[in-house]
Amino acid sequence: MHSIGRPLKRLEDRPLLTGAGRFAADIAFPGQVTMRVVRSPVAFGRLLAIDASAALACPGVLAVWTAADVADLPPIDFRMTKIDGLEPYRQPVLARDFVRYVGEPVAVVFAADPYAAEDAADLVFCEIDDLSPCLDPLAEPGEFAPGASTLRTEPAVLRKGYGDLDAAFAQAHAVVELAVSIGRHSGIPLETRGAVAILGDDDVLTLHGAAKVVHYNRDAIARMLGRDPAKLQLSECHVGGGFGIRGEIYPEDVLACAAALRLRRPVRWIEDRREHQIAANHSRDQSHRLRAAVDGRGFILGLDVCFFTDQGAYIRTHGATVSDLAAALLPGPYIVPAYRVEGHIRLTNKTPSGTYRAPGRYETTFARERLIDAIAHRLGLDPVAVRRVNLIPETAMPFDRGIDALGTHVVYDSGKYHDLLERALGHLGYPALKDEIAARRATGEAVGLGLAFFVEKSGLGPRDLARVSVAGDGAVRIVTGACSIGQGVETAMAQICAETLRVPIDRMTVVHGQTREIPIGFGAYASRVTVMTGSAVKLATEDLLGQASRIAGRLLQADPAVLAYRDGAFLHPDTGASVDLATIASQSAEGLTGEGLFETSHMNYPYGVHVAQVRIDRETCGVSVERYLVAYDIGRAINPMLVEGQIVGAAVQGIGGALLEEFVYDPDGQPLATSFADYLMPTSREAPPVDVLLREDAPSPLNPLGVKGAGEGGLTAVGAAIASAVDDALGRPGLVSRLPITPDFLHGALAAPAGR
C-alpha cells in the first residue's frame, strides 16, 4: 500500500479543530511581564529625546528601555543574500538618532499586564525633529541620515545578464516597451506575531513563538546577546500563517530575549493587529521598465529590464533577496537568448520589507506576462501563440539560464512547458470557452479571459537532517529541522516515512521547530520543506529499515537479504516466522533510529499556467473573478489534497494582491491601511471557485522523491492573469499597468482616452 500520492487527512488537524491548538498567545508563565513597544508616530525625523518619566510612574510598570539601554545590542543582521554595502542600512532593535518609519520601535515598556503596558506606552513622549520623508522609490536617492552620514537611500544596484543584447536589438523586427508596477502588500497571517521568552533554572533561555527558521535564529539571537547558542532554545508553537514574513528576526524577538535575561522574569510580547500592519515586513512594491526586441513571430530576441524595489526604511534579514530573485527569474519560462537587468534597491520612509510567498516571482511574472500580452497586441498575434513561440522546449531541459539566484546557479531541472499549456487549454475547453465569452460580450457584458505562464523555484538547500526512530510500542518519531507554518509538514513527512516503513501515519509523531531536538535545521521557506526535509526523512527511513533488517536477520537467524518486509514486519519466507519493528526496537540494545542528511546545491523549478475569467461592472468598475484555473506541475505530489489546499489558498491570496490589498501612505508617510477595515483581504465572498489541474509530468531529477515545492505557485501568476483578463473584458489591451486593480484605478483608466 503506497502512502505517497494519497489524499490522507492531516495529522495536525485534531488539536486545531478541537480547540487544543497552542499558539504564541496561549503560552503563559507565572510572573510574566508584558512587553509593549512604543513606536514612532512620524515617518522621518531626528530623535532628540525620549521622556519616560510619566510611564515609569504608572502602576505596574517595571522598566522602560530606549536605545541607550540596549546600546550593547547590534543591529539585526542579514540571514540571506548579504551583498556588499548593505550593512549600514540594518535596523537597530530600538531607534537611534533617527526614526525612519511610522511604527519603528523607539522604546519598550515592561509592565504587569497588557493594559498597564499600553497605558504606560501612551505616556512615553518622543521629542522628534521632523524631516521631510521620502516616499517615492523612483525619486533621486536622498540622504539616509542627513548630517550624520553620506549614505544615500540606494544601498545597492544588482546587475545580471547574458547574451548579446545589442545584436538582439539590432536585428529586431519590433521593440516593445512597457512600464508596470506592483503595489505594496504582504503576507498577513491571521495570527499576529508573538515572542515569549523565559530563562530556566538551568540558565537556558527559551523563546516561544518562533517560526520558520529556528536554528538560524537561535544562532543569530545568541550572537546578538553574546550568549552561548547552547544556552538558547527556540521553540515553535502552532503557527497561524507564515507566508515568508513571519519567523524572521525582528526587533521584538531580540528585546523579549534580552529582557527575560535582565529582568529575570518571563517576558511576553503579543503583537496587535495595528502593530502588525506597520511593524511586520511589507513586500512587493516594485516598478519595472521593460524593453523587448522581438522578431515577426513575437519571439523575444533580447530583453532589457530596469526595476526598482521599495524596501522601506531599513534592509532587514532578507538582504537583497527579493531583488535578486526578481532579477534572476524574470525571464521565467521563455528562451530569451539575451538578457540584461538592473535592479535598484531603494529605501523610503515606510515599513521595511522582505519576502512574501512567491517573492520576486509574483512581481516579475506580472511584468513579463504583461509584456508578452503587449508583444501580441503590437504584432496583432494571439497571446497564447506568442507564448508557444517563446516557451523553452522540453528537449532543452535541463535548461541553464546562465544566471545565479540566491547564490545558486539557475538551471531549470525539468519541464514540459508546451505540454502543460496545451493540457490547461484542453482542460478549459478553451476554444468553446472563448466563444462563450465572445457571445456574452456581444450582449454588452464586460467579461474576459487572461492567461499567464510562470516558473517557480523551490527546494533551496544547502541541506537538511532528519531522524526517524521506532519505539518499543511501535510508535514512530520523526525529528526534523523543518518548521510548520500551517502547510501540513507533519502529514507530508509522515507519508514519506510511511511509504518506506509501510506503517500507518497515525502511529507517527513529527517534531519540527525545536532547536533542542536536532542540531541541523534550515526551516520552512522557499518551498523547501517537502523537497529538502522530505528527502532527508526518506533517507533516514531507509537507514532505519536497513538497521532493522540486520537486527531482524539476527533475531530470526537468517540472512537479512532473504527476509521479506511487509506492513512493518520482517517475514522469513520459509519458516513463516516474523518480527515487527516494535519488537526489533524493544529487543535491540541501541534502539532503532535512522538518520538521513540530504544536501543539494541547486534549486528545482516547478511551473504552471493560470487562467482567470473576470467580469467587470462598467458602472462601478468592480471586478469579479468568475472562475480561476491553476495548472501546476510539481513533479510528484506527496498528498494531492494538501497540495490543492496550498494552491487554492495561494490563489486567493494572489487575488488579494491583484484586486484588494495595498499599504497606502498619505503624503506625510502616515500609513492608512492599519486595520482590516482599510487593508482589504479577500474573504470567501471574493474567492472564486479555483480549479486545480495538478500534474506530475516532470519529476525533479535532483532529489530521491522527484518532488518540487508546491507552496507558492498558486500565487505566482494571479496578478498577471487577472490583469490580462481585465484588459480582455474591457477590450483595452494594456489598460492594466499596475496592481492592485482597484475600482478607483479602473475608473480613472477608463476615463482616459483609449490607445494612450
Binding site: 499600553e118 462601478t620 478607483d744 480613472g748
Partner: protein, 284 residues
C-alpha cells in the same frame, strides 16, 4: 489594542440606565451591540470613562406595528430584519437592506438604534431612517422627545442626542401596498462600508411615478435625502431614462468625499449608478 480603563454598569431597567446617564453625562457611553464602539475603544480612538451596557433592558427588545408605524425597540438586533418584520413593502425593503449591514456575526449583535446613535456616514440604517422619514424617540430623566431623522443626524458620528439621552425606539411609517422599495450599494468587498449607496421607494400607477422617496449614503458626512429629485420624479414615467436622469442629477447634488478607496470623481459616478439602480428596482 487594549482599551483604556473604564467603569462598567449593566442596569436592568430603563430608569436605572437614565439615572446613570444623568450622573455621568458626557463621560458615559451607552454600550449596545458594541460592534463599532468596542473596536474604537480598542484602538483608543474612544476612551469613555463609563460604559452603560443596555443589553439587559428587556423592555427595549421589541418590534411592533402601532399607529401606522413600525416601532423598533432600541435593543433590536440587525439580524431581526433578515426576515421581513412587517408585511408589505417596508418589511421587504428592510430585509433587502440588512444583507448589506456588515457581516452575519456582526448582525447578530449590533442594533438598529446603535447604528443611528453612532451615525456612521456609510450606515445603511441611517440612510433608511433618513429616506423613510423615521422618528427617533429619545428619553432622559426629565422626559421624552421625538426627533425626526432630518434633525437627528448632524454629521460624522454626530447626532442631536444629548449626553444624558437614550434612544428608546425608532418609528418608521408603514408603506402601503402601492409603494415598492429599491436599494443599491457598492463596496470593495461584501460587507465593507459603502463607497456609495442609494435607497428609494416609489409609488407607480399606470407607468407614472405618483410619489417618490430617495436618498444616498456613504458619500458625505451623513445620509442625504434628495427631496428635489423626488419632486422632479413625480409625474414622470417610471422608465430607465427617468432613472438615469435622476442618477445624473443626484451625482451633481454634492461634492462627494474622497478616501483611500474612492476619489470624489469616482464616487460621483457611483452615485449615478446607485441611484439609477435603486430606482429601477423600486419600479421593477
Amino acid at each position: 489594542m487594549k482599551p483604556a480603563a473604564f467603569d462598567y454598569h449593566r442596569p436592568t431597567d430603563v430608569a436605572a440606565a437614565l439615572a446613570l446617564l444623568d450622573l455621568h453625562g458626557a463621560d458615559g457611553k451607552v454600550l449596545a451591540g458594541g460592534q463599532s464602539l468596542v473596536a474604537a475603544m480598542n484602538f483608543r480612538l474612544a476612551r469613555p470613562g463609563v460604559l452603560i451596557d443596555v443589553n439587559r433592558l428587556a423592555e427595549l427588545d421589541y418590534l411592533r406595528v402601532e399607529g401606522g408605524h413600525l416601532r423598533i425597540g432600541a435593543l433590536t438586533r440587525h439580524a431581526a430584519f433578515h426576515r421581513p418584520v412587517v408585511e408589505g413593502p417596508l418589511g421587504r425593503l428592510l430585509s433587502r437592506v440588512v444583507d448589506h449591514v456588515a457581516h452575519y456575526p456582526i448582525r447578530q449583535r449590533g442594533t438598529f438604534a446603535g447604528s443611528l446613535a453612532h451615525a456612521d456616514p456609510a450606515s445603511e440604517w441611517c440612510l433608511a431612517a433618513t429616506v423613510l422619514d423615521a422618528e427617533i424617540v429619545v428619553r432622559n430623566l426629565r422626559g421624552e422627545r421625538l426627533i425626526p431623522a432630518a434633525a437627528f443626524f448632524k454629521g460624522t458620528f454626530t447626532t442631536a442626542l444629548e449626553p444624558d439621552e437614550l434612544i428608546i425606539e425608532i418609528r418608521l411609517p408603514l408603506l402601503d401596498a402601492g409603494w415598492q422599495g429599491g436599494f443599491s450599494e457598492f463596496s470593495r468587498r461584501a460587507g465593507d462600508f459603502a463607497l456609495a449607496m442609494a435607497l428609494a421607494a416609489l409609488k407607480v400607477e399606470g407607468g407614472i411615478i405618483r410619489a417618490a422617496k430617495l436618498g444616498i449614503g456613504g458619500v458625505a458626512d451623513r445620509a442625504i435625502r434628495l427631496s428635489g429629485i423626488e419632486a422632479a420624479l413625480v409625474g414622470r414615467e417610471a422608465t430607465e431614462s427617468s432613472f438615469r436622469a435622476a442618477g445624473a442629477e443626484a451625482s451633481h447634488a454634492l461634492e462627494p468625499g474622497a478616501d483611500i478607496h474612492a476619489s470624489s470623481g469616482y464616487r460621483r459616478d457611483l452615485i449615478a449608478a446607485m441611484v439609477t439602480r435603486a430606482l429601477a428596482e423600486a419600479a421593477a
